[in-house]
């Protein structure tokens, strides 16, 4: 029987939600919460331990978290490592990738995970490990766990496996040498593809070029003391009654709020509606996300010319890149009309 160790977050361990997201790493024997589904689907492999770590702990103290977890794994016998499934939970997905990458390198065992294609962790770590394309939410737990467990069982048993596309994981950009008599020679395939392309017929490339997001670099502000600065945040800071009814997660709406007569944001007048973290600090003092207090000081001192009279707000958790891009397109015209020279974007 081969041995596997799983990594899950505080939520899937049943410890708690956002209020427990600072949970420090710990290791328990056997299966816990989310690792049960993986264990059930494994063939000839058993889960001996489950590592649990809060998403914010991993996000805010990455080096420390990785060091602690590696210390826990030191001396343990295991043949493979699972992290997740992380679905569309961004911080969880990134945490799964961070820890898997280190475990693979340091303990020389393969790591497997599962994430939704909108999870930023998928794009960040797909080249480093096998990440199966998973569902949006925990409703897909069984299917997602099954996919990666079944594949890992076959890999460990030394069975033949197919390409990333055939198996359902995100391509790592690796090319494997195979000899397949049923395939036509490469030159024939290339010419057939070219003919199809010229004839506007569909064809599938054998070497997709990965897309990377590239934003042209903007020129710097020449004179800050004459510049107007706008503040945008994805931390969900809104007036306490949330007049634009911005969603607490997977946001599709945004708002802008007049701050021209304020020296700072006061708790009780503004709060955060972001469902992705413990709101206590930001509700008490919204300036920890939207730093109007210090910017207003700098405006009075003449370091900056002016603060744009509105701040802009939405919620970043679970929000798709497509929706985020659309909201940004909608925010740009009023910011440009106000002759803003530079933007401070605070993301939580």
């Amino acid at each position: 029987m081969k041995k596997a160790i799983c990594y899950i977050n505080q939520f899937f361990a049943g410890i708690g939600g956002e209020d427990k997201a600072d949970h420090a790493p710990e290791i328990r024997e056997g299966v816990v919460g989310g690792s049960m589904a993986i264990n059930a689907a494994l063939q000839g492999i058993e889960v001996t331990h489950t590592v649990i770590c809060g998403d914010n702990f991993m996000g805010s103290h990455r080096e420390d978290a990785i060091q602690q977890i590696c210390g826990m794994l030191e001396g343990k016998e295991f043949d493979l490592f699972f992290a997740g499934p992380a679905f569309r939970a961004g911080r969880y997905g990134v945490a799964c990738g961070e820890i898997s990458k280190v475990v693979q390198e340091r303990f020389d065992v393969p790591a497997f995970s599962s994430m939704n294609d909108e999870n930023p962790g998928a794009e960040m770590f797909r080249k480093d490990m096998v990440i199966f394309e998973g569902g949006k939410s925990a409703a897909a737990m069984r299917t997602d766990a099954q996919k990666m467990a079944a594949y890992a069982s076959r890999v460990i048993a030394g069975e033949a496996v197919g390409s990333a596309e055939e198996e359902g994981y995100f391509g790592r950009g690796k090319r494997h040498m195979i000899y397949d008599e049923s395939l036509k020679p490469a030159a024939d395939r290339a010419v057939e593809m070219l003919i199809a392309k010229l004839g506007a017929q569909p064809f599938t490339t054998e070497l997709p070029i990965p897309k990377t997001d590239f934003v042209p670099i903007a020129k710097p502000i020449k004179d800050l003391s004459k510049a107007t600065i706008a503040i945008i945040n994805t931390g969900g800071i809104v007036p306490v009654d949330n007049p634009d009814r911005i969603q607490s997660a997977s946001a599709t709406r945004w708002g802008r709020y007049d701050i021209s007569k304020m020296d700072r944001l006061k708790g009780g007048e503004f709060k955060t509606i972001h469902a992705g973290f413990d709101p206590m600090m930001a509700d008490g003092n919204p300036n920890v996300i939207l730093p109007l207090d210090v910017l207003r000081e700098m405006e009075k001192e003449g370091k900056i010319g002016k603060i744009h009279e509105y701040f802009y707000s939405t919620v970043g958790t679970g929000t798709t890149q497509k929706e985020a891009a659309r909201m940004a397109q909608e925010m740009i015209p009023p910011i440009q009309e106000a002759n803003v020279d530079g933007v401070l974007l605070v993301s939580t």
Partner: protein, 70 residues
Amino acid sequence: MPVVQLANLVPVAKTTGTNRIVPGFAIPYPLGNPEMTEEQQHQMRRHRIEVCLDALTTPIEEQTVFKVKI
């Protein structure tokens, strides 16, 4: 128009194409710290925002993460 992103998850900011990045302190309070006094937090906030504003005035050739001291 230059944009500076104060981000806790710096690797995510890099993947999504932000060019000027300044690290935040923690996810629930990028510009606060419950273990500090109000005055210390204010200093830390002011310092990080000064780094952000400097980032907006600095010419860069590639994605840059600006360093903070507190």
